[in-house]
Assembly symmetry: D2
């Protein structure tokens, strides 16, 4: 019944398959049953997730959460349900009301409205930065200088100079700078990556990723002074990071082309681009196509397509996972950014899990506890930011931009609008 | 952008939404924004999953695992990754080799080939029974008499008399008898159940569930002396339990009709039925339609359809979650029971999670630690077994069978084959 | 089977593949390339559709259309677009206004409100009966006695006695009685039937068909005196006919089991059943499962599942063909019975074609022009009606009903309600 | 919009909806029921398809078919089944054997291997050119000069100079030059276009079209001297034409950006590009994204995505229409370019119809018979060719290319490879 390479033993690993390094799943040197040679391993490996969970009583890693918005909510819940080795010891918000409410809701012992005090007094070993983009730089520097490892939500920061400084300060203080790109952990995408790593798709020649919705929850995103740009800063960073990850984590990007549009549905409140298409050529010939939108109605969309000379794989994190519901009267919640729940809707479940947040945060906490190298770091965040710079420049000039690319600007979107 | 009942706060709960009791998600007494009255809550609530995870150092609940097969693998991995409050202290297998290998693989300190010694010496507070069906009865009695709470994989046992005794012994010893029906925890199905609970689908009038594949991994399933029957015992129990759960957990079943087929693709090795269709009428008029097959090629299928006077919802746990892959050379593993990975395949991810095993085991361990009432118990397992009895009888006689139904047989399938 | 870029010869036939008899597509006696023996041809063949279309100027076959409702609209448009050999020479409606309007819209030269005059004076060679069920019997008798071939929409009539008389009168007058079951022509379903005929699915053991929507357009359907019953009469006839067609056209049905529900969403206006599940056992062991509903919101659904010992095939005529649209403001029309076009909708196209109406009517006109045997006839309509009788009886008694089944009633639903 | 059981009048039109001009479907001046203003009609209308089919005996329009390959097969079958007003009076092939076989198979009275004789002697009113790209120019000139209207398969020809001459000669002789872009007729895509025309999607800001498979059937495609280029010439022309059609037929294109790849799976036999991504900016701000591949395994793919400020619509012509089949032994044919029929496959039906060939050819024959303006003409083919020129140039230079664009080359791909 089961095929030559299948079967129950393999399943047992995959069932709970937290993307163990591929080599541990393959008998070394074994050719595939159909005679195909084992593919050269171009892919990064990483420490197994949930490495020691469930073994014995343990001390907990103390985490300070900066921020009380959308991302902070997700992180808090994921720590609680999926990362028992971590403990939230404090939360910081610029608003006192929100700080109190958040602490209460998530049973966090301390709350702060002063960033320096939060970092100085919380007693945390790890600071998790879920603040607006323009505050990442300062927060990371403060935390690292206070001796804390740092998890920082995407995008890394506003400028390449900030990125360099963040990386340097963390390095100098021997602290880890962990870049929270959840698509490198989303379990469905990771299954596709594993296939590619096995050689199931032959040589990859095109990678596509799209993330689209109808615009962010929070006002600051629409202010390019705070966000650094529009949808490319907000969501383009995901696809660009994922393409790099698919190609081994540190592939050399050669060129960038981009097309941006603004004034679609949010023109009254933002100068940021609302729709973007970016093409990146990587060394070896693979092209990445990254599409993003803040003007796509009907709810969140996150999809990949992976093209190789031996096959293709498609994955869809939202509609491709959802229950399909028709309701005359509607219901509480369907999926992120869905504006209505009447008529036909795509009902998503375990959204945070399916996007890889638990896998990501568990990995980062393991890295801290066992002094391991995180699979996505500040360097990756910087490389993504460089691609974003190049994309803005390309959109401005209509020319393909070669990497490495450097420019001195206050924020990425200035390369397009200046 | 976000609709009247949607939005970021609601999402935060759902994102990590471990099916909190509905009332905690709704402002009490609040009418829906469209004026629809709040639906009467016909649904059971249950203790929140992962109730205290992540708070502070904790002692672990000691678990003895009986069995080393397919289900045992899944349980072991789920405890490790998702139930940090639990600790596997021993494993029992009828085969010494398997016992050793399993213990080693899962880093379990002790292994046994003697059931009584396993129960007597492991020091466990909870025994988790993943043995062939015919061994459930004895194992549960031994464990309960030894003062252990019991988790027992489906189906509960072979006969109603066994079921009654298991329930009674556990009751007498004050031990919990927890019936491991993971469909009551599968997060996609639970989202649909939550919709129904909200009233999104109006009054339910038909529930459908199908679980189909090409036949079990283990030989004992095909021996009706060990399994008690064919696909109806193996997988029919899932759909029957799920229909009851959707209708509030303890609905009164009125009648059963069934159609069974054997000799399809496994006729050479089993007298058990390979394909079944069962209809159950419940008090209030809702009908359950449960389809199962051991003769369905192409990989595992698990689907529901929920029909109400106000809407409908469809969910598919496997193809409906999978990445879609085309591979010329194939790859390691696509999904449970898929016999090939070449050509087009449905690539599943996080299978155990998406089927609800972590949610189930976490719930059971919470029930033990906090002395809570499990949402699925031995009584539920017995009620499902009664429906299976009635289905075999109906298939034998061509008549609708009324509930309650009692018969004295050595195993359920005797009602059809005798 | 076919090489990477191959298959162009095979495709050319399929591309425009009007379901030529299978034998013409296979090299006689040739084993499949994988050594599998050619399957025994259990399937009916039929005259190729569109046999001579496009060859030379031709006289047209004169058709009288009885009815001006939903079905009549579809037929009229299909004749116009897809059956150039036919010409509508008259239309009959019980309402003068509707008769006039219909004739005008479809440019039909004559219109009638008197049935006998329509049949007597239109000069038609073929009468196409798209009247309410209770009028089928009389119309067919009149037309056959007037020397006209007859196409009759499903279901054939209200009683077995009527059916017998209709068949006998047509036989006696040498007229064809053509039963308009479009599912025997729906091109997607016919592709699946062709696969099965090729042996691609092994031996068939279960056939499922579901047709569901939120209730008929016309009032007379809800009056069981005019319709003979509820959804089983209206739509159950489709699935039952299709199961027979899949099994060779004239398989022997052994038993019927059924479960019916009423009072779901149309209880205020009909005594007819609104939801039905029917199981039919056929000689050879295959079981048909036919599901129908008038209480399923969200638009028309028509699906099949074909299970065999060598494979499975699923097809969906509506959602499975549609474009997927999200519209804030809505639009004119999405699909049959869809109540709203805002939010997410499934946008169907070429509905009549995809349901097989052109293929059906073209076939019937060819049969008339070339004196061929239609693939679905009055005998098939009668056999379906017998299954419906048996289903009502089974629903009433809770017992499996054996075929052949005979009862004397004024209308089928009396067997359930009497 | 429509009531729960409503919509029968609207449906009658759509059911057989051959894309009648939108204005005929809307009550003039009527606002939508939700108060939204009627959208300005930016879209072209066209003569209804199948205008007079089925009315009365008719003379037939004589058609000469040039070519006997893949496209010629499709055209021949479509004329036979769906265009009764047309009659194939001759076929030309460069190979005598193929000419004879084709004529015999399709019952065409005359066959030719000399192009001039075919055009001169066949007595046709219309010549339908299904020859390799490099022969289009000569064939069109000959036919037009012989007084015949011309249907020409895509792409129009190899150079802009040829295009200009073809247009001029047809104009000078008062002959129609009909450009056979079937995507302007594919019924599923046309439904989406109709939605957009109604305003259902708001203002369009991005159009995506992808057509991909594993490479052409015929050898000449791989020889850029005969084809003029790779996948961009072969399939890119479809998406580019469709974007223009969606934007009203004659939108002004402002710029083109492109990325091309070769040497993927056909590097041993072609210098043509095997994968392409092209971005076109149109006046008004809408961007078209056209993706094509000859290196995509697993069968034909043809998809669109239409993004507007009021909604989105997705349509898929192949997987999105297919039955889903699992077969252990395989079967005759699944879909175009599918290399295997074992395991899971997408089983397509009525491929030619679903791609719009019958609608296209019927429209062209109507245009000839009633002297109407075709909706896609030589001018459209030229505009597409200009975009292809610009795309090759952009791929060569890495720069956005502005339209209008002119260059003197022997074939389009020279702009990239020179």
């Amino acid at each position: 019944m089961l095929g030559p390479t299948g079967g129950s033993a393999a399943r047992a690993l995959w069932l709970v398959g937290e993307q163990l390094p591929m080599q541990s799943r393959r008998i070394p040197g074994a050719a595939r049953s159909n005679g195909a040679p084992a593919t050269k391993n171009l892919f990064p490996t990483r420490p197994a997730l949930w490495l020691n969970a469930g073994r014995k009583p343990m001390s907990k890693t103390k985490v300070l959460l900066l921020g009380s918005g959308f991302a902070a909510e997700i992180h808090a819940e994921c720590y609680r349900r999926f990362v028992p080795e971590a403990e939230l010891v404090g939360v910081y918000s610029r608003s006192a009301d929100r700080a109190v409410a958040f602490a209460q809701k998530h049973q966090i012992p301390r709350h702060f409205t002063d960033l320096e005090r939060a970092i100085g007094e919380s007693g945390a070993e790890v600071t998790d930065v879920c603040l607006p983009n323009f505050l990442h730089h300062q927060a990371v520097l403060l935390a690292a200088r206070a001796g804390q490892h740092v998890i920082v939500e995407k995008p890394l920061c506003l400028t390449l100079e900030q990125a360099d400084e963040m990386i340097e300060v963390c390095r100098a203080h021997g602290r880890k700078l962990m870049y929270a790109e959840e698509l490198c952990f989303a379990p469905k995408y990771e299954r596709v990556r594993a296939l590619a790593q096995e050689g199931a798709l032959g040589q990859l020649y095109m990678l596509k990723q799209a993330e689209k919705h109808s615009g962010p929850h929070s006002d600051w995103f629409y202010d390019v002074e705070q966000s650094g740009g529009g949808v490319l800063m907000d969501m383009g960073c995901h696809g660009l990071a994922w393409c790099r990850w698919m190609l081994g984590g540190r592939p050399r990007a050669l060129t960038v082309q981009a097309h941006l549009q603004r004034g679609l549905i949010h023109g009254h409140r933002t100068r940021g681009e609302e729709n973007s298409v970016v093409l990146v050529e990587f060394e070896g010939g693979c092209v990445g196509v990254v599409e993003n939108s803040w003007a796509k109605l009907g709810g969140m969309e996150d999809r990949i397509e992976v093209y190789g000379t031996g096959g293709v794989s498609y994955a869809d994190l939202f509609q491709g996972n959802a229950a399909l519901t028709y309701s005359e009267q509607g219901y509480g919640y369907a999926l992120e950014k869905a504006s209505s729940t009447r008529g036909w809707t795509f009902t998503i479940f375990e959204e945070a899990f399916n996007q890889g947040y638990p896998h990501e945060l568990s990995h980062f906490i393991q890295c801290v506890r066992h002094d391991l190298q995180p699979v996505v770091t500040g360097e990756d965040g910087r490389a993504v930011l460089e691609l974003i710079y190049a994309a803005y420049r390309s959109a401005a000039t209509g020319q393909k931009v070669s990497l490495p690319f450097q420019a001195t600007v206050a924020k990425p979107i200035d390369l397009w609008q200046a």
